[in-house]
């Protein structure tokens, strides 16, 4: 029994030692087998746009790199799989062989058909004699649009006066957007389009428009914000309600003392009168013209009359010549002037004229007169012929 215990201990350690050496040998054999498989990895993965919006189409570019220093790897297949994001492009089969340290970029087209959230598509790389790779990467789908709002607008907007409207565009998205521009189709708003360009994440830009209403009343100015997320266009609309009232200070041109002097026969009228500025601001470069209308034609020497600067509470005389044809009794006048900002204003007035009778005789040729001319012509021709016969 005294010998049995040491023997048992010896056997125990022997068995342990044998078992340990067996496992070690097995491990060594296994390592030897894996050393034959080459090592490849995904060295880079780029998603464009970085954060697609719902239904945006984008691209994923993955770079497969051969990590071996002395051995080439033949890539058999690269495919992308995703449950949330739709992969539009096909897998790559036998895209090529990678030399030692070489890499290969492959692009997949995706479409974010899913709700907002973070998705993890997988890229699977199978290489001949290489380890298979399953690489997951995050794609954030964020449908937050750009915001557009009114930054500043005058409290009072008057007809005929220019009002500056400032709009601010913000980018609450996690990525940059490009081709940002604001467009309006309203004819009294200048400019019709403001291009902002690239707008970084969490950044904002201000765009200024100038609104010059010609009439008072309620207006809804519609602006359309357009931008690109990757290659996808998106739009956001903004409607700005404005109330335009009559200006209390602007130039107010009125005509008084209108007289028309007719030149019968020609139906030419000389229209004279005074143009008065009843407003509180000066009217610059005042020009009076005869408006376009059928049967109305401006005549020299005063086809147009340049009044020039007309200060508040000031007046100037004017003169226009116009030919009126047919039964026209209204002559359109156009009064153009500019405000201090150089904005052109145009007012239309109508002057009534009375139709006149002809200057000269009725225009009919008396028959005896025609006969006399004929007789004279015969006489002259006869005398000339006679003189040549006699010579």
């Amino acid at each position: 029994m005294r010998k049995t215990i040491p023997t048992f201990i010896f056997l125990f350690f022997f068995v342990i030692a044998v078992a340990t050496s067996g496992v070690s040998a097995a491990n060594t054999a296994s390592s030897a087998t894996e050393e034959h498989k080459a090592s490849v990895m995904i060295s880079d993965c780029t998603v464009n746009p970085e954060a697609p919006m719902c239904n945006d189409i984008g691209t994923v570019t993955v770079t497969v790199k051969n990590m071996e220093l002395y051995k080439s790897v033949n890539i058999k297949e690269v495919q992308m799989l995703s449950q949330g994001i739709k992969v539009l492009s096909d897998s790559y089969f036998n895209p090529g062989s990678l030399g030692p340290g070489g890499d290969l970029s492959l692009t997949f087209t995706i479409k974010a058909t899913c709700p907002d959230g973070i998705y993890y598509p997988k890229v699977i790389v199978n290489g001949e004699g290489a380890q298979s790779i399953r690489y997951s990467f995050p794609v954030t789908v964020d449908s937050s649009p750009l915001t557009i709002a009114v930054k500043d607008v005058p409290e009072d907007i008057f007809s005929g006066e220019r009002a500056k409207i400032e709009l601010v565009v913000g980018n609450p998205r996690p990525n940059n957007v490009t081709a940002v521009k604001i467009v309006t189709e309203y004819k009294d708003v200048m400019p019709a389009e403001v291009f902002i360009g690239t707008l970084s994440a969490d950044d904002s830009e201000v765009a200024a428009f100038f609104f010059t209403p010609q009439e008072s009343g309620d207006y809804f100015l519609n602006f359309k914000l357009q931008f690109k997320n990757g290659d996808n266009y998106h739009y956001t609309d903004l409607s700005v309600p404005l109330t335009v009232t009559e200006s209390k200070k602007s130039a107010e041109l009125i005509l008084t003392g209108i007289e028309e002097e007719s030149l019968p026969g020609m139906n030419v009228y000389k229209i004279t009168g005074d143009i008065n500025n009843a407003g509180l601001e000066a009217a610059n470069s005042v020009v009076m013209k005869v408006g376009d209308a059928e049967g109305i034609e401006a005549m020299q020497p005063y086809k147009a009359y340049f009044v020039g600067l007309l200060n508040a509470d000031d007046f100037s005389s004017f003169e226009l010549n116009v030919k009126v044809e047919g039964n026209k009794t209204q002559v359109p006048l156009i009064i153009e002037y500019k405000d201090e900002d150089g904005i052109l204003f145009s007012e239309h007035e109508y002057i009534s004229v009375e139709s006149t009778q002809g200057i000269a005789s009725t225009g009919e040729l008396p028959v005896p007169m025609i006969a006399v001319v004929i007789v004279i012509a015969i006489l002259v021709i006869g005398m000339i012929s006679y003189s040549w016969k006699k010579r």
Partner: protein, 213 residues
Amino acid sequence: MLEILTNPNKFFEAKKDEEVSLKIPALIVLIIGIISGIGAYFMGGLTAEMLSGTLPSEAQAFLSFISISTAIIAVIASFIFWIVFAVIFFGLSCIFKGEGKFKRTLEFVGYGYIPMIISGIISAIFIYNIVSTAHIPAVTDPAMIGIALEPLMKSPMMLLSYAINILFMLWSANIWVFGLKHARNITTKNALITVAIPMAAYVLWTIYQMGVM
């Protein structure tokens, strides 16, 4: 004298043997000038009436001066045209190696004005008829007179007057052909060319004035 109308060739053939005398031609031109002056007086009166609104009452007497001055200008213009025509004919005939003094040319051109006396009388009657029947507008701006007179100048009666003037001018031109032939000793053909050039220009200008062209 009637022979100049019926047989100008014979008239000038005989006349070139006589001493050069400008008395009768000058008298003919003067008569034409007076007749033209009468017509111009009527037109001047029309213009004065149109301008009556532009002048203050104390300056109304000036209006009568317009008619008289217009008539005087017409008389002077008749002599100027006589000389101008003679100069043109004399100059053009030089191309055909014409010989003879300018004074002779001036004399014969003056004789050629005889048919114009008749046309002057007819024109004066026509102008009187036009002026007396026209409704005359008051013009306050002298610049508008041209516009106001335009329909009158292009009225059928006035166009008729232009046509008669052209006819008689052609008759005068016919006389000038034979006058130049003898005054400058050139052939009938060359004389015809000499007269035809300025006459063609005159006729075209008159037609243009009529507004036909």
